[in-house]
Amino acid sequence: MNPESALIEFRDIAKIYGHGEAEVRALDGVDLKIEAGEFVAIMGPSGSGKSTAMNLIGCLDSPTSGDYLFNGVHVASLNQDQRALLRRNYLGFVFQGYNLLARTSALDNVELPLIYKGVARAERRQRALEVLAKVGLQGREHHDPSELSGGQQQRVAIARALVGSPEVILADEPTGNLDTQMSREIMEVLKELNEEDGMTIVMVTHEEDMAEYAHRLIWMVDGKVERDGNPVRGGSRR
């Protein structure tokens, strides 16, 4: 890791969809720095650009303008394959809509990132079983997503993000479909990863209770960062 620069840095990032009348500024001049080891929560009304920002951080999408530096490297200068390596080795993504492979068991879904990391089969299996147990899915390893509840699918998605021990976990509403009890358990898992393994966590949530697990809260409105600070109510304005 490069000690000089932040792990994640947005410089005046804009993401614009459509043209003319139909133009939508999903992100409208966002400056943002996230250091390694932070636990950040992003909140904001629906349509405020949270998922768009997450996709950019995850190197899945490119901004319309502005610079994104990951660990001091201009992501715009990387080609598709180099970005794939970045995702493979540094990033774990929990999608808002889970995005699990259909007709594929929970276990195989969780193993997927390890296949591309080139982990041997037996070790893959073992690590996948471990993280599935961590998110409370023992006994469900061989179920297809269609045989799992929404909450269980969400936990498979979380397990898949964790399994490769990435530098950063990007979680887009990881507890959106879980009850309070389960949500707390997941947050404890994230907290533990952050505190014990020093993993950087960026999480989008709609629930203040969950945001309180984070050390920093970013509040977005209309594609802009409105507040950035302490997660307790009324956190300091910038």
Binding site: N55, G58, L60, D61, Q80, D81, A84, L85, R87, R88, N89, F93, F95, N99, L100, L101, A102, R103, L112, P113, I115, Y116, K117, G118, R160, G164
Partner: protein
């Protein structure tokens, strides 16, 4: 990693078995057709080759009727048959001739007890069996005395034996050919189908004199089989025989022959040629169906790529590179078409085996053809799988993930 990719491909193929089956159907049919055609073609070629060898490459057939132009007997009305004297003259006067045998043929009904069958009756003598190199399975050939006096004895072909006697020995039994009752003295070895596809074993042979007197009632010899001595030119022999026969049949200068001489070697090589052309043509048709099969694979793979856009997005999101996605789909197409090729080979060989049996030709599976067909179907997978795989690999991760 390549093993992983292969495992993924097999998983994907079996995740949608029905679609996979339909996808490979074209390849299966194409490969099966090519294999069956080539195998049968090779079988019939080798049959022809075997026939040539069996017959000897030095056998000539002398037949009445001109060979050129208007069919039938030269300038005169009906071509005269030959006589036994012609046979003797050929043997005596032409040095390069090893031996010659008269041949006449008729069809009739044969009765043995309650069994009866219709077959072809051949009047000839022992020299015929020498010329066409046809050994006896059991019993004996005609005695010189039997040939001279025209005794009622006969030699059976294997098919007639099967029809009348089954597997028991026919030697010494009496059979009836119309009004003639004759004793079976010998059984010919099975010869199988001729190059023309007729059953050569469906035959009863009688001494020429017996045949002439008791079956057709004249002294005509309708064909003469001639074998040329080893090392002597058959072309020269043909010229000499032609001259001799013109003289004996009093054909004046300028008049066309009223007989023709056929060289078995020529006939056989002509037949081989025809077989090869036919095999080639049919294989070309079959190859086109392979091509169509390939297009079928491409079509389904393209549909599959579209259907699995989200899957591709997910793979890209967890760190798959474009090449790995490309390989996944390419390997899937190749595995599919190789499965198709394998099934096609098995099916094609089975068809060829049945066909060879029906056509009474040998079943000659060729390793080259089998391996070739397998490689070809793999190539079809690579060629027609590449375009869809390329399309999958080019997908943008976020677009793919958003795809509904």
């Amino acid at each position: 990693m390549i093993w992983e990719t292969f495992r993924l491909a097999v998983q994907a193929i079996f995740r949608n078995t029905m679609r996979s089956v339909l996808t490979v159907l074209g390849i299966v049919i194409g490969v099966a057709a090519v294999i069956a055609m080539l195998t049968l073609g090779q079988g019939s070629s080798s049959q022809v080759t075997a026939d040539i060898e069996k017959l000897g490459t030095n056998v000539l057939m002398l037949m009445p009727g001109g060979s050129s132009g208007q069919h039938g007997p030269g300038s005169s009305s009906v071509a005269k048959a030959f006589t036994l004297k012609d046979v003797d003259a050929i043997i005596d006067q032409i040095g390069s001739v090893e031996t010659a045998a008269p041949y006449a043929q008729s069809a009739t009904n044969v009765v043995y007890g309650a069994e009866s069958t219709s077959t072809s009756i051949v009047g000839t003598d022992n020299r015929y069996l020498t010329v066409v190199d046809w050994p006896l399975e059991m019993g004996r050939s005609f005695l010189a005395s039997e040939e001279q006096s025209g005794k009622s004895v006969c030699i059976l072909g294997e098919t007639v034996r099967q029809n009348l006697f089954g597997n028991t020995s026919p030697i010494g039994e009496m059979i009836r050919l119309n009004s003639l009752t004759c004793e079976i003295v010998g059984l010919l070895e099975a010869k199988g189908a001729s190059s023309f596809g007729t059953d050569q074993d469906d035959v009863i042979s009688l001494p020429m004199k017996t045949f002439q007197r008791r079956i057709i009632g004249n002294s005509d010899v309708s064909m003469i089989f001639i074998s040329v001595r080893d090392g002597q030119s058959t072309e020269r022999a043909i010229v000499e025989i032609e001259a001799l026969m013109r003289e004996r049949r009093r054909i004046s200068e300028g008049e066309d022959d009223d007989f023709s001489i056929m060289d078995m070697k020529q006939i056989a090589s002509m037949l081989t040629g025809i077989t090869n052309i036919l095999t080639g043509l049919l294989s070309a048709v079959a190859a086109v169906s392979l091509l169509v099969g390939g297009i079928g694979i491409m079509n389904i793979m393209l549909v599959s790529v579209t259907e699995r856009t989200r899957e591709i997005g997910i793979r890209l999101a967890v760190g798959a590179q474009a090449n790995q996605v490309l390989m996944q789909f390419l390997v899937e197409a190749v595995v599919l078409s190789m499965i198709g090729g394998f099934v096609g080979i098995v099916l094609g060989l089975a068809l060829a085996a049945v066909g060879a049996n029906l056509m009474m030709i040998p079943f000659v599976p060729s390793l080259v053809v089998v391996v070739g067909a397998f490689l070809f179907s793999a190539a079809v997978g690579v060629i027609f799988g590449y375009f869809p795989a390329r399309r999958a690999a080019k997908l943008d991760p976020i677009e793919a993930l958003r795809y509904q």
